[in-house]
Symmetry: C2
Subunit: 255 residues, 2 copies
Amino acid sequence: MLKISSLNVNGIRAAHRHGFTDWVSQNKPDIICLQELRALEHQVPDPIQNMDYHSVYHTAEKKGYSGVGILSREKPIQIQKGIGVDWIDNEGRILMSEFEDLIVFSVYAPSGTTGDERQDLKMEFLDHFLPFAQKYLSGNKPVVFCGDYNICHKPIDIHNPKRNKNTSGFLPEEREWVTQLLETGFEDAYRRLHEGEEDLYSWWSYRAASKERNKGWRIDYHMTCPTLLEAAEEAVIEREWDLSDHAPVTISYSI
Amino acid sequence: MLKISSLNVNGIRAAHRHGFTDWVSQNKPDIICLQELRALEHQVPDPIQNMDYHSVYHTAEKKGYSGVGILSREKPIQIQKGIGVDWIDNEGRILMSEFEDLIVFSVYAPSGTTGDERQDLKMEFLDHFLPFAQKYLSGNKPVVFCGDYNICHKPIDIHNPKRNKNTSGFLPEEREWVTQLLETGFEDAYRRLHEGEEDLYSWWSYRAASKERNKGWRIDYHMTCPTLLEAAEEAVIEREWDLSDHAPVTISYSI
DNA sequence: CATAGTACG
DNA sequence: CGTATTATG
């Protein structure tokens, strides 16, 4: 059994203050994909660095901004930072760890909520990401792209689909992109294990007590190859932990 | 009996969180001279604005920076913001409230701790301040210049005079300036009521638990005319309140 | 609302 | 150490 968690920490230092190491020691995931570290590698709190995990980070050039990481009990046999597109790689958004019989990515798609310019870059990111990810589907190792895609796919994935139909994160072209990703062969593993179930979200605004009222969005995914979907046995969103504005999305795979 | 308090609040909003209105209602000063408001007038918390005091503020152009105020039970018959020197007035450092038989100033001298440039401006401020204040000594109303002068006068006023003899706030030329102010006729009323008493400070660094170890500086003064010194009956530094890194300096005058 | 950054003290 | 700012989400 291999347990993989994905979590946008909204600042690894803040998540540490909120009990990140407690969560790790109580849940013992084999692999943890982190997004939005908002720290340089040397700023990651020591107690996290001293956990019994191998850690790989791909941080942004800009201090306190973006950045992804992968923690794993096993040491990766290979890692890859970025995808060869300068502005994306400078923002620390895509990181791979390859293991003996599994490839894991931590992905942090840009937010488009701050304006048109960033929304355009978000779409550009998605356009780069799709063919990049596709290549790994035809490889001979199971692959999963875990992360914060900053997109809700379907109305069921957002608490107020009507009000948000023109909001970045639920725009038709963004939702269509997720559909394309699935049509190329990826699987939204969490949804596939919870078909039709409502009120399942992975992010809640800090404002207006959104989390306690469960007014959230499901924007964090395990996008798996078909093989891994078959191996997926249990998928949970760990809403009971308040480590950041996101909840960990954890799936156990029988490999 | 007229009770006048002087307090550097290090942010009126922060002081409010730390119990400013409790302090006011328990002590009921007639006049409160405030320094380092670090807020525009409309940002002063409502509970402070709604106290039974008249308030006058002279804020800095730069947001979140400097600024002085005077709260008084009586309504001032006249007020004066600044002293006619642009850079000083833009920084919100000197404010007057005139009453029937008293003139009160709230003064916030620049800090010189951030470097030579600001230290030079501090000395320039002091050079402007001295003749400005002097004029009021020859007037026919009692006058007091309350505030944070950012200078310790004598070794007795600082916990470690030797180590700080080259530190801004205890430099020979700054201490000499205070001596001159006193020689022109002003009185350091708090000291005059506590001659020779040691370990009396009004400011403690937030660092290194300075306050609980009483490693402080006395840099907040009531600089009074001789008439007011004679009227001064009780002078206290209210160290038991933790409203900011300074303690209120409160003197009761029998006028 | 919250986490970063930086300026200032 | 602590209170502000501003950028970002």
